[in-house]
């Protein structure tokens, strides 16, 4: 019996060891590719790699800084992202208000229609937009990129606003109405302030979704080149570690944003315990 005890303990330990191994493998899988991509920025090798290490350099940041085409693509992506936010926020909010004003049966029908762009492959959204506008004589370009991206990004905004609206107390509207406020006033002074956190979050998500979109954009871009298309094209036309420098900067920005958001969340929690 005494000989069995250590064996038992080992058997009890096994799942934990296996899980630790799994976790280590998962984290390596998640971060090693990004780490290698980032590290390759500092290698003098013309093709981005870490093997062999030919020498440490900062020249690729310089190359990125001087890359006019990259700057053009970056500004275009930012412009498109802002345009998408400007479109998707009001329309998504309107869609959410529209939904919450309906009876259950009609609501589930419209809900399915509004959610469908999220369940449609991005390439199909791009193609459908391209074909429709071609009939009207409009060919691919920045305008169609904004429209095609907004088709599904509006659905994200709608979902986020609907989620917030579920916690809205409609008696607030009734009370304001009873006190003589106009409907526009109620919208501006009661509903919009209530929705504000969801709108900020939705605007942020909408911009990110637009900025990182590739599949939909690819079909409607015409000859315009936003950042994701620019990066993907680089792989064919001659990838240099300048692209890695760009990746590194984007990763760093993401990291900083994530940490800042987390810190502000913690501060808020401390101010409002429970």
């Amino acid at each position: 019996m005494s000989a069995q005890a250590p064996l038992h303990r080992l058997a009890a330990l096994l799942p934990r060891v296996l899980f630790a191994l799994y976790m280590a493998a998962f984290l390596i899988y998640l971060f090693l590719p990004l780490a290698i991509m980032s590290a390759a920025t500092f290698n003098t090798s013309r093709f981005p790699t870490v093997t062999p290490w030919l020498g440490t350099t900062l020249q690729w940041f310089q190359a990125l800084w001087n890359d006019q085409a990259m700057w053009k693509a970056l500004w275009l992506s930012i412009g498109i992202g802002l345009a998408v936010v400007a479109f998707a926020l009001p329309v998504g909010t309107a869609a959410a208000l529209f939904l919450t004003s309906m009876n259950a049966r009609a609501r589930s029908f419209f809900y399915a229609v509004m959610v469908s762009p999220l369940l449609t492959p991005g390439v199909a959204i791009g193609i459908a937009t391209l074909i429709l506008w071609r009939q009207a004589g409009v060919s691919g370009g920045t305008m169609l990129i904004v429209l095609a991206q907004s088709t599904f990004i509006t659905a994200y905004v709608m979902l986020m606003v609907v989620a917030r609206l579920q916690r809205f107390d409609r008696t607030q509207e009734e009370a304001a109405l009873g006190l003589g406020a106009s409907r526009w006033m109620i919208f501006r002074r009661v509903l919009l302030p209530f929705l504000k956190p969801a709108l900020i979050a939705a605007g942020f998500i909408a911009f990110l979704q637009s900025f990182e979109n590739y599949n939909t954009t690819l079909f409607v871009r015409g000859t315009d080149t936003p950042l994701t298309v620019y990066i993907a094209t680089k792989v064919r036309t001659g990838l240099t570690p300048a692209v890695n420098a760009l990746a590194l900067i984007l990763i760093a920005l993401t990291l900083v944003t994530a940490v800042v958001l987390e810190l502000s969340r913690r501060r808020k929690e401390r101010h409002q315990p429970g």
Partner: protein
Amino acid sequence: MAMAELIRRFGPGLGGVILILVALWIVGMVLAPNLMMLNFSLKPNLFPSEIGGPKDQYTLLNYTALFSDPVHRAIFLKTVWGSALVTAITLAVTYPLAFWMAKVASVRGARAMLIALIIPFWINEVLRTLAWYILLAFNGPLNIFLQTLGIIDQPVRWFGDTGVLAGMVYAYILFMLFPIYNSISTLETAQIDAARDLGASTLRIHRRIVIPHAKAGIATGCVFTFMLAAGSYVAPALLGSPGSRWFTEIIYNWFFEGGNWNRGAAYALILLVLCMAVVLAALRLFRVNLADVAK
């Protein structure tokens, strides 16, 4: 009726604006483009001068072409099968982590993990795939590493099916993880403890308690992963080889190299119908409704 309620609630001005915006989106950007694509896919590819002429007749030829062309048919079936494989692998890889984050880790540990996961999620799919492009290159770090360890003596050509699979699982891992994590989080830990006290094995606890509870999250994760994989363009384009072409690449070629938009539209609709079918099948299979999926 909805209109009346909108106008009653927001007044004619604001209510009208809301209706116009919603119509603009639903009719102008969701319904009209898809109907036009459908119409387009049922027409033959004609010269502009022939449009409206005797040859301008509805036909199913663009659809049947997919199944009569053995290469395209094989690529389509491979895309379906490959996307299912990506979905299954992603589910297997993420489930333990989702459970750990929701039920085992401390609040602080789970938060830290969440932030760590967000970083690869926020940088875009093209860069995530590029990272794998660099890692898997013929003279790249992975081959050198495996050679140094003596596991392989010749560099391996990862680009192709293996590369595409690895890149896709990587790109979509979080679309699977987050819904599963969210749904396991709502499970009462007491239920798991009770089952364990009653002598249930870990496997049985997952099979009988955790998985049934998390089925909406699992269905959501699977639906999104499948759809993203089937509609993926970057991973096959960067990590594939001529032998591992993906259905989206065929569609792209019809538009920008083959010059047959009608056939491209038909192929895109087939892809769309495939994804919709998978969504509906998953809803049925897991008995969840759309509102749970789209959370």
